[in-house]
Amino acid sequence: MISIEGVTYSYGDGINALDGIDLEVKNSELLAIVGENGAGKTTLVKHLNGLLKPQRGRVMVEGIDTKETTVATLAKKVGLVFQNPDHMLFAETVEKELSFALTNFGLPPEEIAKRVEWALIEFRLSNYRDRSPFTLSGGEKKRVSLASVLCYDPQIIVLDEPTTGQDSLQKTRLASTLTKLNRQGKTVVVVTHDIEFVADFIPRVVVMSRGKIIADGPTEEILVRKDVMEASSILPPQLAELSWKLGLESPSIKAEIIIEEIKQMLRGGQK
């Protein structure tokens, strides 16, 4: 469980990047954090593995106060996948990249081999095993960086913009990997601008704006709220927009519901 209580953080420029954040994430939840650039999303998740420590308030991860432990200890519990894979990747081959953390954590070689194998298959990287990560495409590098974290099996997985450069098939695969891990009991936090990805796959959404949380709840309720979408300058999901333009009483992000509504309208059910 993650519990964030009254957390404030400033980079020293007179602006609070985080301004009194309260957030609770239960074990094995799957949630997204969305918001405009500079809303504080990345600053917030850097608090989860202790890269940043709150200047006010407190962050508890699995009962441990992040101020009272090291990043190295937290890293085993919280796996953070950064936005830009170029900032993470460094090994000569994909295989070495994947085994790096495992070796550092002192796992036995058979276990390392098993987990690397799993990751190569799960992320469809088997063909690239011996390739340098730097010769891969943007989308492929992204998968290597995800795989390198998931391989060491952290209890809490935090992904910053995991869908950039991924096509729709890969996004669907990523979603099913995340859902699967989540069903196995992992807590998964996804920071993203990809509102359609959130609408399709993530049950809970936290909306941030200017260092504050302005909405938090079930995705299908939050993403259809015009006030929230406008206040956070997020582009709404296309179906929410369609709902508003159709004047639906209960706007939705689900295609089946919209189609039913349209059928009713055409039958003369509404204005």
């Binding site: 650039n37 943007g138 991924q166 509102i195 369609l242 189609i259």
Partner: protein
């Protein structure tokens, strides 16, 4: 008939040390002033195709190159890169990798300076490029302190200062937030409409761009597998089988077509909503 500004014939290409070809018998033509969207699953050859359009392939990459690529009358394999750079500008995914000067103004002046143009001409081009892109107010800033969207606009302005006839953009919005992405895509639309620049744009986010383009080309396995108006292509059966991310409005329209027995081909929520409202008894 209008002379094509881009003409690609029988293009086959394999990267050095790669066993499999990245492009297989690609044939493509674009007329001056066209706005062409290129899409397709990752690894389908889109990026390789972009690199072939400004001569990076084969000139910088080497590899096995067959067929011909002619841009604005110049064959890319026999024309020096500085010559091509004045006709075709290429914008990459990650603007951080392209920018290196201390101010935006210098960044944009770098290209024309290297052409050894007169100082007044350079100043004029910089001024104009910054204005078209809408970033004149940023000219004293360091590119490093800008947001991703602003950086991408600097990269675009730097290319415009070379006065290219063709702009090729390889997923220019991949690292941008949706509002910045929208603004870069609308900028492309404006450059195309007002300045007559031919635009070749690689993009996954079809819901943001399909209504702005003249044509949509789909790559798969190194080949072009669909080429037509965005409505034809997005509503073709083949494209949905490929796993191209169809916009939600397209998905809903397709299913509605089946239900009401009338072919619907909407690209935006506006189009679909006004159709439904017009039909309501």
């Amino acid at each position: 008939m209008v002379l094509a500004i881009i003409e690609v014939e029988g293009l086959c290409y394999t990267y050095p040390d790669s066993g499999t070809p990245s492009l297989i018998d690609v044939n493509f033509k674009a007329e001056p002033g066209e706005f062409v969207l290129i899409t397709g699953p990752s690894g389908c050859g889109k990026t390789t195709f972009c690199r072939a359009l400004n001569g990076l392939i084969p000139n910088s990459y080497g590899g096995d190159f067959k067929g011909k690529v002619v841009v604005d009358g110049l064959s890319t394999s026999s024309t020096p890169v500085y010559e091509l750079a004045q006709r075709v500008g290429l914008v990459f995914q990650n603007p951080e990798n392209e920018l290196f000067c201390t101010t935006v103004e210098r960044e944009v002046a770098f290209g024309p300076e290297n052409l050894a143009l007169p100082i007044e001409e350079i100043a004029m081009r910089v001024e104009e490029a910054l204005e078209i892109v809408g970033i004149s107010h940023l000219k004293e800033k360091s590119p490093e302190e800008l947001s991703g969207g602003e950086q991408q606009k600097v990269a675009i302005a730097a290319l415009l200062a070379m006065k290219p006839k063709v702009l090729v953009l390889d997923e220019p919005t991949a690292n941008l937030d949706p509002l910045s992405a929208k603004s870069v895509l609308e900028l492309m639309h404006r450059l195309n409409q007002k300045n007559g620049v031919t635009v070749i744009l690689v993009e996954h986010r079809l819901e943001m761009v399909s209504h702005l383009v003249d044509r949509c080309v789909v790559f798969e396995g190194g080949r072009i597998v669909a080429d037509g108006s965005p409505r034809e292509v997005l509503y073709s059966d083949m494209v949905s089988e490929l796993g191209v991310g169809l916009p939600k409005v397209v998905q809903v329209s397709k299913r509605l077509s089946g239900i009401i027995g009338e072919p619907l081909r909407f690209l935006t929520s506006d189009e679909l909503a006004s159709y439904v409202r017009g039909k309501v008894p």
